[in-house]
Amino acid sequence: MLAFTLRRAIQAIGVMIAVGIISFSMFRFAGDPVNQIVSIDTSAAERANIRASLGLDDPVLVQFTRYLVNAAQFKFGVSYQFRLPVADLLKERMPATLELATCATILAMIFGILMGVYCALRRDTLLAKLFQAVSLIGISLPTFLIGILLIYLFAVTLGWLPSFGRGDVVPIGWWTTGLLTLSGLKALILPSITLGLFQMTLIMRLVRAEMLEVLRTDYIRFARARGLTTRAIHFGHALKNTLVPVITVAGLQFGSVIAFAIITETVFQWPGMGLLFVQAVQNVDIPIMAAYLIMVSLIFVTINLVVDILYTVVDPRLRATVGHTT
């Protein structure tokens, strides 16, 4: 168990170093860090001075190490566009993204699981077929189209909900939350649905497929042969066995939700990290892009690690075996 955790942690660090290399290459080679500081009419000699003072003449390995050490302290340099430290920009935007992603994930889990179970158990009913059709549309339609559609319906036509921004936010320390004001909550609805819809369809399809698979297993047949009630079989045995992989996937997907928030945040002009990143790509603001990559990777890797460890806690079989397999 400890050896397993340790190995996973080492793998995670390996991934982060790989991401660091990519991020550093972007930072160092795709963008010129000198440009962060100087204007167009700076003389060549001055540029050379700055170059030297930034340590850009040092061996690449030294520069890389310095970059990693800085990144580990969340020092990502200065944004080309805003002339502000990237770390401050990200910190300011992070609460918006995390609140949106969390809301979307919760919505996706609740409705995804409910619909998935229904589709598995009542597979030939009209409603199940409707859910299936909706799920196909949810997977097929690009997120931004769904966002536009929702805006057109609920903001433009009906005027019920705001179409952009976070509403009023309340600061709690350095964190800002929109969960405590009415306008903040209203502003959260459409973006959460937009962002969560894809995850919801994914979870629904997964729950359905997984549950159908579980219902075919021998232990379910044996449970039926023992005369257990349908309810005990479906919502006890089958659901529990279904949810183990589903929760793993949903957990792993949280990282993707944060990354997918890029699109939703753009559609709804949601002031999060994703919007910052898109603006950075549009304006070729390399330090922000490099920093965003590192931040998102860090979230990804952490979630992966946590889910891996949790999985062994949930499934008794793995608790016994992870020590000496793989």
Partner: protein, 319 residues
């Protein structure tokens, strides 16, 4: 009992019925015919491809050519509304661009990027998969590690990064054709993993079979064995991945263009058209965004339906 079994008997025991007869009697075709939805999806996909190919013949103007656009024709409503004007079937946008023509040409761009992206990612993935599976060892571990890591990141993030870096390296002002190439490259780099994994898997299985050993014994070089003998066995799954990835590639291109990191306004894809149209949603010009949106949704939905059907037909176990 035996009576009921007769149709099955005859259909499978007629010798030399020809490939067409065999294809028509096959399980794949049977499931195709049985699913009306799939047939509709196939028809829509085909129609959209044809529209894209025949765009210059059907369009009332070339929307990429600023000389053909007239500002006096701007913001005309669709033909069937009171304000509609011929020949602008689906209305016009801010710059007097005919929405229908723009969709036809935009469809071309979207399909071009999608198809080239799939071809590029497929070629890259198949090559890396073959190499990893056949040679094994350190090369295999390296490729599969990269694949594992990449798979945890959504394609759109990778595509955006590749796009941003390319812009930075080549300068911010890329012309439309170079942007298209960058998009294909970005999509290719985002979607190779699934092909590589699939191909690697089958290579590992096939590699140990007798006929490969026999081919090695008679001295066939490795690349011949892989291309002639191993690769054909993986074509079914690859076709399924490619179909589903075509939809994904089109979505990715549209998303990038929508985010302003894809095709420029001067040579718009469907995604670009939606981004432009989105600005007019609040002022009531819904048609500028609605029709490109519908076209994109129809295209992706049809291709996805085809992909789903193909997967089920080739692998009934998954149903």
């Amino acid at each position: 009992m035996s009576n009921a079994a007769v149709p099955h008997q005859t259909s499978s025991s007629v010798p030399d019925a020809g490939w067409l007869r065999r294809a028509l009697a096959s399980d794949v075709f049977y499931s195709f015919r049985r699913s009306r939805l799939t047939m509709v999806a196939a028809a829509v996909t085909l129609l959209l491809f044809l529209l894209a190919i025949a765009a210059p013949l059907l369009a009332v103007q070339n929307p990429f050519d600023p000389a053909q656009l007239q500002l006096m024709n701007s913001r005309i409503e669709p033909l069937w509304t009171a304000e509609g004007q011929s020949p602008f079937l689906l209305g016009t946008d801010e710059q007097g661009r005919d929405v229908f023509s723009a969709i036809l040409y935009g469809l071309r761009i979207s399909l071009t990027v999608g198809v080239l992206g799939v071809v590029f990612s497929g070629a890259l993935g198949i090559l890396l998969g073959l190499v990893a599976g056949y040679f094994g060892g350190a090369i295999d571990s390296l490729i599969m590690r990269i694949a594992d890591v990449q798979l945890t990141f959504p394609a759109i993030l990778i595509a955006l990064l590749v796009n941003g870096v390319a812009k930075s390296v080549f300068g911010n002002r890329l012309d439309a054709m170079s942007t298209l190439a960058v998009l294909v490259f970005a999509i290719g780099l985002s979607f190779w993993v699934q092909y590589a994994r699939t191909v690697r898997g089958s290579v590992m299985v096939e590699k140990n079979k007798d006929y490969v050993a026999a081919a090695q014994l008679i001295g066939l070089p490795a690349h011949v064995i892989m291309l002639r003998h191993v690769l054909p066995n993986t074509m079914g799954p690859i076709l399924v991945i490619a179909t589903i990835n075509l939809a994904l590639a089109i979505i990715t291109e549209a998303t990038l263009s929508f985010l302003g990191a894809g095709m420029p306004d001067t040579m718009p894809s469907l995604g670009t058209l939606i981004r432009i149209g989105n600005n007019y949603l609040f002022s009531g010009e819904w048609w500028i965004v609605a029709f490109p949106g519908i076209a994109l949704a129809a295209l992706i939905l049809s291709i996805n339906l085809l992909g789903d059907w193909l997967r089920d037909a080739l692998n009934p176990k998954l149903r």
